[in-house]
Symmetry: C2
Subunit: 195 residues, 2 copies
């Protein structure tokens, strides 16, 4: 049996296209995607999605997804139910990129090696997002040069005294004698489980 066209289904089709091509399909392309034979039918459904608040048009009349629609559901605390395919989720935001990377031009990713921040829950193999030009505050996690090597450390500041501390008791506190070389401040930690 053939699938009926519903708002949800059309949304998924367009979202899939967007994720794959990083752009919206044209009406002509949607004729194929939605399996219809006329642009006016596409127009018909697009208007439905706009009315439903899933799509929107910007100033130039260009089509784009609402933040709501593009986000994957965020669940605060898991109760009896999980977000199902059909139901609307109250959850907020977000694209991972937007959520994690505030300043893309001065950020970079670093793969963690070593266990100097193990008690902070940062483990070997994790990715950290580092912001280069950021001014570290007391307690921030920074990338610092220690004995010619770069490692992750807490940045501590006490009465004009600056020192570095690992989140692992087996590493000593570092009190820099002269200059302290910092590579940036850690703004996020990412761990992916590979199955």
């Amino acid at each position: 049996m053939k699938e009926k066209r519903t708002i949800k289904r059309v949304q998924k089709i367009i979202a899939a296209f967007f994720r794959e091509n990083r752009r919206m399909p044209s009406f002509a392309e949607m004729i194929g995607l939605l399996d219809v034979k006329s642009k006016s039918v596409v127009h018909f459904w697009i208007n439905k999605l706009i009315d439903a608040g899933i799509l929107a048009k910007d100033g130039q009349g260009r089509l784009s997804f609402t933040k709501q629609a593009f986000a994957i559901p965020l669940v605060g605390s898991v109760q009896a139910g999980f977000p199902s395919d059909e139901e609307e989720t109250v959850g907020d935001i977000l694209s991972m990129d937007e959520y994690l990377i505030t300043k893309p031009e001065s950020s970079f990713l670093l793969q963690v090696s070593g266990d100097s921040m193990i008690d902070e829950g940062i483990r070997e193999g994790d990715l950290v997002i580092v912001e280069r030009d950021k001014q570290p505050r007391n307690g921030d996690i920074v990338i610092a040069e220690v004995d010619g090597e770069w490692t992750l450390k807490y940045f501590r500041q006490q009465e004009n005294q600056v020192f570095l501390e690992a989140a692992n008791p087996k590493y000593p506190v570092i009190r820099p004698k002269k200059e302290l070389r910092l590579g940036g401040v850690v703004t996020a930690v990412i761990r992916k489980y590979h199955h």
Copy 2:
């Protein structure tokens, strides 16, 4: 003094527009963005970016960023230098969305509460990405219902015996008597530091 147009600068301008509007600007819009007065000049620069491998055209002749260009640099191990603004970085990939979320239609985010997985480096307030329909394997982290509450646990499997284990010695091992309700498998952990 006015800024000279360079490939890098044009790339940044277009990338900024893309990030903000989730789409490529048209040539007409780029006239304003690049501060020129003719579409042919835009055409001239776009071709430069294409030659440089920063932009590309898909089958329909649509403009899009190369994966290379869109990614933020990934540094394996930090050596003497950090990725600077101008230099090219060898690092691979990635958009966070693409990297983290393989199946957007069956994934959701969950904010972690409690300390049941603390020894795994998953802490209260972290976000975990959960894949709903995934079949858990031995050692995977799953969302499971225990005593009417949902928590994170290791999924263990030994000789047809299934049980749940916390990454925290203060929680006992769970050996389900009858049915075991699972909400999904954790595929990634995300922690953002708010400054």
